[in-house]
Amino acid sequence: MHTRPSVRLLLPLLAAGLLASAVHTADAAETLTVYTYDSFTAEWGPGPQVETAFEAECGCDLRFVSVADGVALLNRLRLEGGNTDADIVLGFDTNLTAEARETGFFAPHGISLDAVSVPGGWNDDVFVPFDYSHFAIVYDTETIENPPTSMAEFLANEDGHKIAIQDPRTSTPGLGLMLWLKKLYGDEAPDAYAKLADRVLTVTPGWSEAYGLFTNGEVPMVLSYTTSPAVHIVLDGTDRYQAMAFEEGHYMQIEVAAQTTAGAENPLSAQFLSFMTGPGFQDIIPETNWMMPAGETSKPLNPAFDGLVEPEITLLFDPQTVAENRAAWTAEWLEVMSR
């Protein structure tokens, strides 16, 4: 009985919420639904331009639905249990493709991959890459004048400067660094982790926190991408932040898209995947997603990209190896780092 006043108070409010949210677009016949991460669809992200370009080509309606990040993308699909609106899922990386394949939610793309170009080449029947970048240690030139030129030199810690890295348990770049060291040092990786631990100021749960500490001046080095310096040149007009080039090579992250089993029924899906590998899509990527294009562009890249580190050696585990060993390797990393 006593809850009555509060219930009375709440019902109109809930009704108001209902009205506010009632706007939901129904699926038209000529619609392609793409699930992606949200910085892709931000107004400064690739999404708006991609939408315009593809809609002009197909005469259809391209609809983006976005979630927080690439990992959340796959989890959303799992939560939907295969019964999804998505025709295309765009934005998870090669660390997750093995697990994504196992879910059985994805169908072979069936398109030609001739236009695709990523270091080391690409050959996969389900996943189509749309951009890539290498992980790199980005540093502040105002603090560090003579950056190390190899991972070994970096780990030797001659100058005592600190770095902010990400946790492989919660972050894709964090996982990337761990795999990088594992690829370089194999069974000796724990020694490398131990040396790394001495250089680490702190470990953050995500890329944003680490990069925030870096741009705030709290730490002169951060684990990020070879493409990060271009952002500061283009957006802020400064070349103060640079990436270190390591002679042993850099670990790579490739972002991919795939069509769902439901999406395979929609002819627009294949059309979109093809479009994605061509200049209509690839021209947009570098200066909106700040990654390297994974296909042909119609014009040269912004000069800001010219000065970037271009690793001569690209390091990458195949997705199956990552999927099988991630838990064990993470435990090994954790064991050393929490000493």
Partner: protein
């Protein structure tokens, strides 16, 4: 209802995962237990520090004359909870970090301040978040002390210590225990703060393991087991606080402005209290100044005209208001139930088990990560309806559930006092239902209800957890937008948005405090002399 909210969620998750096979593996993992130990350890010290320091601050605030200064302090104290953790952490780092402002001052003064990466940093950030919260809750309890007590203590010539021991401490003890339980739970679930300022994996809470289980591993059974483990260890700790708390004693009537608060003739005490409050304000305010400074460096006018930003502001407000209203409604119903039980035992003696459960159990929802509840509901609902159409309701419901314990802490003491004062009279006059609400309950509870609403609103405005799962083109809130910009090299935009969020929250808090104060003056005018 709250229990149902959780049960459906957990049930759906377990059904989805097809049993609890992974439970054993989780419970025998030594890493998990090491994490449990650290989680409890940091939460304990954070709580002791936050509540311990909030105690004198709450007393000092209560003794302050009511006016714009006190209202501003109280509004400021509601802000930290509305900040996305990462924004707060950057604010803290800007002050106490390697290149921090305070660090610089200390070095110039010849000190060698310790690095904040470690327990120090965790404690600094957690007190920043929780000292104001605890101070507000305890101030709420102190404000219910009859004005006559102040006068009596002055006449009897009590010193500050005697006054604390004989008046203030007994009045705030239940609130202090409640605040401690709340703060403890918040710190148990703290995640980004602990990892970043703790300096890495050495400082890891269960929440990190939970996050890992839910994201990369998508191991729902493990997530549920970890949640239950987190719940279990927290219940143990919180029970301790509850027993230490005792209950509000009977025999005092709240005088709704029957006599003017006696300002006191203790210049020494006033100066000390003023100094303490000032220190707390500086401590809580300084990170905001850092946020303000970096926010002003961004292009605010450009941000404001962006349709997405404006839409996010409106979405945040709408969802926040609904969630806050729901939270206050729930808290009201719950406090009402508990107050009636208290009336049943005539406000004396130990509260019955059910009453204790009713007052403290709902807070436990704080220990269940919103993401677990959201995921559970997602699975439960997807067979029934399009989950994304239901997303706003889920966000509102989960946010309301998260804000409810805070609202309850503010409403419960006032409700108890009001029930004691008016319960019998109402029963006698046959006042019930709307008439009772309008004539008796609303005038007395208006101020705490509005304060609770404002607080719940601030909290919902700052929420990120639930939205991250359901966020889509339709539902984007301010914290979501902040995280989005931070994740895409737009740190300046993020700083600007954080500033906008901060100003929004502050304005709402001040409006609410103003409203609550107006109602208080009206009561006073009715019974002056």
């Amino acid at each position: 209802m709250l229990a149902a909210l959780c049960l459906v969620a957990v049930g759906a998750l377990v059904v989805q995962a097809g049993g609890a096979g992974g439970a054993g593996a989780v419970l025998t993992d030594p890493v998990v237990w090491r994490i449990v130990r650290f989680t409890l350890w940091q939460a304990f010290w954070s709580t002791v520090l936050s509540v311990g320091l909030a105690l004198p601050v709450a007393i000092a605030i209560t003794r302050m004359a009511d006016g714009p200064v006190r209202r501003a302090v109280l509004a400021l104290f509601a802000l930290p909870l509305a900040l996305p953790q990462i924004v707060a952490v950057l604010g803290v780092v800007a002050l106490y970090g390697q290149r921090g402002f305070v660090t610089g001052l200390a070095e110039r003064a010849g000190f060698d301040p310790p690095s904040i990466y470690g327990l120090t940093g965790i404690l600094i950030a957690h007190t920043f978040f929780n000292l104001p919260l605890a101070a507000r809750i305890m101030h709420g309890a102190l404000a219910l002390v009859p004005a006559e007590y102040e006068r009596l203590s002055a006449q009897l010539g009590m010193g500050a210590l005697a006054r604390f021991r004989l008046i203030e401490w007994p009045a705030m003890r239940p609130a202090a225990a409640g605040a401690a339980a709340l703060v403890f739970m918040l710190c148990v679930t703290s995640f980004a703060v602990v990892l970043i300022l703790g300096g890495g994996p050495r400082a890891t809470t269960l929440e990190v393991a939970l996050y890992q289980a839910l994201t990369f591993d998508f191991d729902i059974v493990r997530a549920v087991v970890l949640t239950l483990l987190q719940l279990a260890v927290t219940i143990g700790a919180v029970a301790l606080f509850a027993f230490a708390g005792g209950s509000v004693e009977a025999g005092m009537t709240i005088s709704a402005g029957a006599s003017r608060r006696f300002a006191g003739d203790r210049p020494a005490g006033a100066i000390l209290g003023g100094a303490l409050t000032l220190m707390a304000v500086l401590y809580v305010g300084a990170p905001f100044v850092a946020i303000l400074a970096s926010g002003l460096a961004s292009d605010l006018t450009d941000l404001i005209v962006q349709p997405r930003v404006r839409r996010a502001m409106l979405t945040s407000l709408g969802l926040g208001l609904c969630a806050a209203a729901l939270a206050v409604g729930l808290a009201y119903a719950l406090s009402r139930g508990a107050a009636e039980m208290a009336a049943g035992r005539r406000f004396s003696g130990r509260p019955a088990f059910t009453e204790t459960v009713l007052t403290s159990a709902p807070s436990l929802i704080l220990v269940v990560p919103p993401i677990v509840i959201a995921a559970g509901w997602f699975i439960a609902l997807r067979t029934v309806t399009n989950v994304y159409d239901a997303a706003p309701y889920l966000v509102i419901t989960v946010n309301a559930a998260m804000a409810m314990p805070f609202a309850a802490r503010l409403i419960h003491p006032a409700m108890l006092a009001a029930e004691e004062r008016n319960g019998r009279l109402c029963a006698h006059l046959g006042l019930a239902g709307m008439a009772r609400w309008r004539l008796v309950t609303w005038p007395v509870l208006r101020a705490p209800l509005v304060a609770a609403l404002a607080f719940a609103l601030a909290l919902s405005l700052g929420d990120l957890g639930v939205i991250a799962l359901f966020g889509s083109e339709q539902v984007q809130t301010m914290p979501y937008l902040i995280m989005q910009r931070m994740g895409a090299y737009r740190t300046q935009d993020a700083a600007g948005l954080a500033l906008i969020l901060m100003v929004m929250t502050m304005a709402l808090m001040l409006a609410a405090e103003h409203f609550a104060r107006r109602s208080r003056t009206m009561v006073t005018e009715g019974s002056s002399e």
